[in-house]
């Protein structure tokens, strides 16, 4: 593992702090954002697609005064939106009518650009309050705070924890307890190599960076571990996912579980081959195994999905199969083998399998975003700020200089990139949940046929064609 040359300038303490913050960001995003949000969306999407209301009753009783004044609260939010909008319009008119160009630069309370800063704050506050007013009614139902069914999911998880933790009497005690932990590891571990933002230069947070050239001062790459083998690490981690399912199936002392574990093992081993071969054209194009280099390449050129739509479809298929999700969930096929490899699990251990399933939706979506949708890269947003077709977003020297100063500042660019990355991963996760509720399950032999007779040959052919194309265009 090669250290980022610039990060060596940081003291050990700062590096540890940065690493801790990065790890907690990745874990926090997985556990506190993706897992609950995908659980909620899975429930809502499945219900809405099937014309059901869905489970959304669970909630916390709110005091009568809040429930009775819900309409007033909503009106208050709209009133606040109108007020902030009016203030914004007032400031705008004040600036526009004054017309002498001095208002922005004239310091108020010793702060430069006070009017501009206020305008940006109020321009953001108005839509925030409108959205608040719009979503307020769906937060409550009857006399309870339900968050549109979100709390129901939380209570379901709490209920699962309070249930009896059943251990089959003839089960392998050690392996039975180990399997859910092993199943959870790959869901987390993949986050280690995913770059979630561009390099952070924290000496220049509030400045506009130069578009090219080196930047002095310490730099932190927004990635937990920058590995040379990057994507190979991801294959290795995906490989360990087999162990959890297979051990769970074996240790449960149940024939259905054993069948499920065997199915999971053979399916995941088969699709691991496809995952690797589907991605080979991407390494050839990106010319690197490092995920951050891949993102940088896509940032400079175009997103990978435009280079390789075939590879995207193949990889999406193979990764859904690799993580045993519908329509490739034969290992837990309810109609044949009850619940497959986690049939005998209950209470917290069962919950661990379920959580790892939703975490995997999150991590695999993040991975697809990195490989095919440019990761944190936003179109027209570069290190030096916004730029489209040679035109820079630059209002220096005008009354609106503050706008471009804020929009091009390093911290803003970083925040927009991180939000864009999470938004891409989120949309891909929604898509993968929708696939789950759209496609019927494949029969087991069809899964194998799809892998060995269709995905694998096409992936190999894709490598050949890509290689010829690269040679031809070089």
């Amino acid at each position: 593992m090669e250290l980022d040359p610039t990060s060596a300038e940081l003291g050990l303490g700062w590096m540890l702090l940065a690493a801790t913050l990065k790890i907690s960001f990745v874990l926090g995003v997985s556990l506190l954002f993706f897992a609950p949000v995908f659980v909620l969306f899975e429930r809502r999407q499945s219900a809405m697609v099937q014309d059901r209301v869905g489970p959304m009753q669970g909630g916390i009783k709110m005091p009568r005064i809040v429930i009775d004044n819900l309409l007033n609260l909503q009106l208050g939010a709209y009133a606040m939106a109108a007020l902030t909008g009016l203030i914004f319009v007032g400031l705008f008119l004040r600036v526009a009518l004054a017309g002498d160009g001095t208002i922005f630069v004239e310091p108020v309370f010793g702060i430069h650009n006070t009017y501009g800063a206020f305008m940006i704050v109020f321009a953001l506050l108005a839509p925030v309050h409108v959205v608040l007013g719009l979503i307020l009614p769906s937060m409550f139902h009857d006399d309870r705070l339900t968050i549109y069914g979100g709390l129901h999911a939380l209570f379901d998880a709490l209920k699962a924890f309070t249930k009896e933790d059943f251990l089959p009497p003839k089960a392998d005690k050690l392996l039975f307890r180990l399997a859910p932990v092993l199943a959870m590891i790959p869901a987390f571990a993949l986050g280690a190599v995913l770059p979630f933002g561009p390099t952070l230069h924290f000496d220049h947070l509030f400045e506009q960076l130069p578009a090219m050239g080196p930047i002095d001062g310490p730099a932190i790459s927004l990635q937990v571990a920058s590995l040379d083998i990057g994507i190979l690490y991801m294959f290795a981690i995906a490989g360990t996912g087999i162990i959890g399912a297979a051990i769970a199936g074996y240790a449960s002392d149940n024939k259905f579980s054993l069948l499920g574990g065997l199915r999971a093992a053979s399916q995941m081993v088969s699709y691991e081959v496809c995952i690797g071969l589907a991605l080979v054209p991407m390494f050839m194009i990106y010319d690197s195994l490092r995920l951050e280099e891949m993102v940088r390449f896509q940032d400079e050129h175009v997103w990978g999905v435009l280079y390789q739509p075939f590879a995207f479809v193949l990889f999406l298929t193979a990764s859904i199969a690799e993580y045993k999700r519908v329509p490739f969930d034969a290992p837990e096929g309810e109609s044949e083998i009850v619940a497959g490899y986690f049939l005998e699990y209950s209470s917290g251990k069962w919950l661990m399998f379920m959580i790892s399933e939703f975490l995997e939706v999150g991590t695999s979506s993040m991975l697809i975003a990195v490989l095919f949708f440019g990761g944190w890269s936003v179109p027209f947003l570069h290190r030096g700020g916004w730029e489209a077709f040679g035109y820079r977003f630059d209002l220096n020297g005008t009354d609106w200089a503050i706008l471009s100063e804020v929009a091009n500042s390093h911290i803003f660019v970083i925040l927009v990139s991180i939000v864009a990355f999470l938004a891409k991963a989120f949309l891909l996760g929604v898509l993968s949940i929708q696939i789950r509720w759209t496609l019927p399950r494949f029969r087991y032999d069809q899964i194998m046929q799809l892998c060995w007779k269709l995905v694998l040959p096409i992936a190999l052919l894709n490598i050949l064609v890509t290689g010829i194309a690269i040679l031809a265009f070089q």
Partner: protein, 195 residues
């Protein structure tokens, strides 16, 4: 004789599965957006948020029993025991009693001193309603027997049964009742029969 089954022709697009899967995603996404964002009347949600909302039962739903009232508030029941005889679950117990001497109804009809239905035994077949000649017992309340933790709460006595309104909120029925002394009173009483 064997006959040929025409299988639908499959194009390459069908075989590749990708096109059809995308179409399927389009269908489900459309349904998702219709049910999430369209106006309330255009939504196709078929279920209700059950404990908070309940669906109206159909008109002929057999709910908990009620004893209908006369104009003066007494039960229409004449304690003929038809319902308890018809009851296949034997959940109705009636103890008939005579009206006092001098009452216009004395000798013409009886009244139930005790009228008890064990709602836990009842199978809600509706035979008692069919059997009743006086339209005195009805199951048109449209509600379930309310839940309780003790069995005693399901033994409904006369007062309880008379306190349950029909679905329209009234305690009477649409069928007119002809009391002795009314001009429309058709029959003769046992006293007039001379036996």
């Amino acid at each position: 004789m064997a006959y040929k089954i025409h299988k639908p022709a499959r194009t390459v697009a069908d075989q590749s599965y990708v096109v059809e899967a995308t179409k399927g995603l389009g269908v489900t996404f459309k349904r998702l957006f219709v049910n999430l964002f369209s106006k309330e009347e255009n939504k196709k949600i078929a279920t209700v948020r059950y404990p908070d909302e309940t669906r109206e039962y159909p008109e002929r739903f057999r709910g908990v029993h009620r004893l209908t009232h006369r104009a003066d508030g007494s039960p229409r029941c004449v304690a003929c025991l038809c319902c308890s005889t018809a009851c296949p679950a034997q959940c109705i117990f009636i103890e008939p009693a005579e009206y006092k001497e001098g009452d216009p109804r004395h000798g013409y009809e009886r009244f139930p001193k005790v009228f008890v239905i064990d709602e836990l035994r009842c199978i809600f077949c509706g035979y008692c309603v069919e059997a009743c000649p006086c339209d005195a017992i009805r199951m048109d309340t449209g509600v379930h027997v309310p839940g309780s933790a003790s069995r005693e709460d399901f033994i409904f006595d006369k007062e309880t049964l008379m306190s349950i309104p029909g679905r329209d909120g009234t305690y009477v029925t649409a069928n007119p009742r002809h009391e002795p002394g009314d001009p429309s009173f058709p029959g003769i009483s046992r006293d007039h029969g001379g036996h």
